[in-house]
Structures are given as C-alpha cells and as structure tokens.
C-alpha cells in the first residue's frame, strides 16, 4: 500500500500526480473460484497538503478504479515545497507519503 507522487512546478502553477496501490473492491465482485463475494474495500478519503495546508480533499466511492490515479493543480507552490498525500479506506487502513515539488 504505497503512494507514488510526482509534483512539478511550471510558472506559478503546480501539477500533482499521484498513484496509489489499493484493490478498490466494490463489494459486488465474486471470487471466481469459491463464488463468495469479495467484501467492499476501497479508499474513502484522500487528503492532499502543501506545506501543511490542505489543498484538496477527495471523497471517493467504490467506483474509482483499482490502483487509483489522482491529479490536481494548485497555485502558490515552489520547487522544494513539500506535498503530502494521505488516504483512509473503509476498513480504517491508511497510508501517507510526502514528496518535494520539482
């Protein structure tokens, strides 16, 4: 369960791209071998911070694809600033990662 972050500054705008590894089970799929339903397991909330200030909060349902991709842009960031992205899923599991703007 890791997060890959790439943040690049171009003029006064910073583009952040993040890739999280997570199964994102909807709770509707079945295990092909046993026929049992795979319980829902998906990221519910992703928090994105720039130097400790909240930039974006993503609220997700199970309809986000497996190994979710998220991209957003914001103003006021400079090279070397810290971007922190963290997520929490419906089982209470979480992950957090930091990266520097390039």
């Amino acid at each position: 369960m890791s997060i890959k972050i790439r943040a690049t500054a171009k003029q006064d705008s910073v583009t952040v791209k993040a890739l999280m590894s997570h199964p994102m089970h909807t709770g509707l799929q079945k295990n092909k071998k046993t026929g049992e339903k795979i319980p829902a397991h998906f990221i519910q909330e992703v928090n994105c911070e720039h130097n400790g200030n909240n930039v974006l909060t993503a609220l997700w349902g199970p309809a986000i694809s497996k190994n979710p991709y998220l991209s957003f842009k914001f103003k006021g960031g400079n090279k070397g600033d810290t971007i922190k992205i963290s997520w929490v899923d419906n089982k209470g599991e979480s992950a957090s990662e930091e990266a520097q703007i390039r």
Partner: protein, 156 residues
Amino acid sequence: MIQSRRTFLKGSMAGSAVAIAVGAGLLTPQSVLAAWPKAAFEAKGVDSAMSTLFGTTAAAASSDIKIKAPDIAENGAVVPVSVTAGHPGIESISILAAANASPLCASFDLGSSAEGFVSTRIKMGKTSQVIAVVKAGGKVYSASKDVKVTIGGCGG
C-alpha cells in the same frame, strides 16, 4: 467543510440505522468518517445522489466545465476522466457515472489555492453519461459527456 458536515448529518438522518449504530457504540469512530457522505455514495440514481450531496437537483448547465473522457472506453473498469472548470471560487467538483448502480464516483473538495482541475480513473458498468458537477460561489453547475463502454475489448 460546513457543507460536507451538513450533508453528512442529513445523510445520517436518512440512514438513521447508521446513526443508531454509532450512538450505541457498535461502530468505532474510525469506521465512520465524519466527512464521507455515505448516503450520497449509496444513492441509487443521479437525482437522488445530487439531492443528497447538494440539496438540489437543479444544476445549471455550464459551458465553463470541460470533461475530458474517451468517446469509447474499451475497458469499463478503467475510464480516465478529467474535469476542468473555470468558475471563480470553486468549492467542489463531483464526478458521476449516470448508469452505475450508485452513480456518485467521487467528490473533490477544493481548498482556496487549488485550481479548477481534477483527474482520476473511474469504473463504469455500461455505456452512459459521465456528469461533472461543480459547486462554485454557492451555486451548482453541471456538464456531461457520453462515454460508450465496450466490455470485451474489441473496440466499438
């Protein structure tokens, strides 16, 4: 933040079983995120999801919202969707897939420094409209784009 708290309260009243379960201490606080609008994500139609999330179904069609998504998505499990909105004071951007059992895919709350752009990948059950709903300055705007889903992968 106030709006999302309000929707949560509204949602928990609608699904009062959840509220009772929380009250009785059956669910740990961690399993019920304060900001996550459960009722909106479980709503079974676009109108119901919209009214749960925004308190209205009347969203003004706006040409300032640009949805970038494929015309034909070969794999409905991974449909890249980008939304760009040019409104001043954007509070949130939501993405809905109209034909999904639960249409609401994602809702992004934007901070003051964020630009009106989000990109992610969603799952789509079948061919339908992708709807982007933007809340800016207390008003609700929307735009939609048709995406054809061909499961099985041999193109359109």
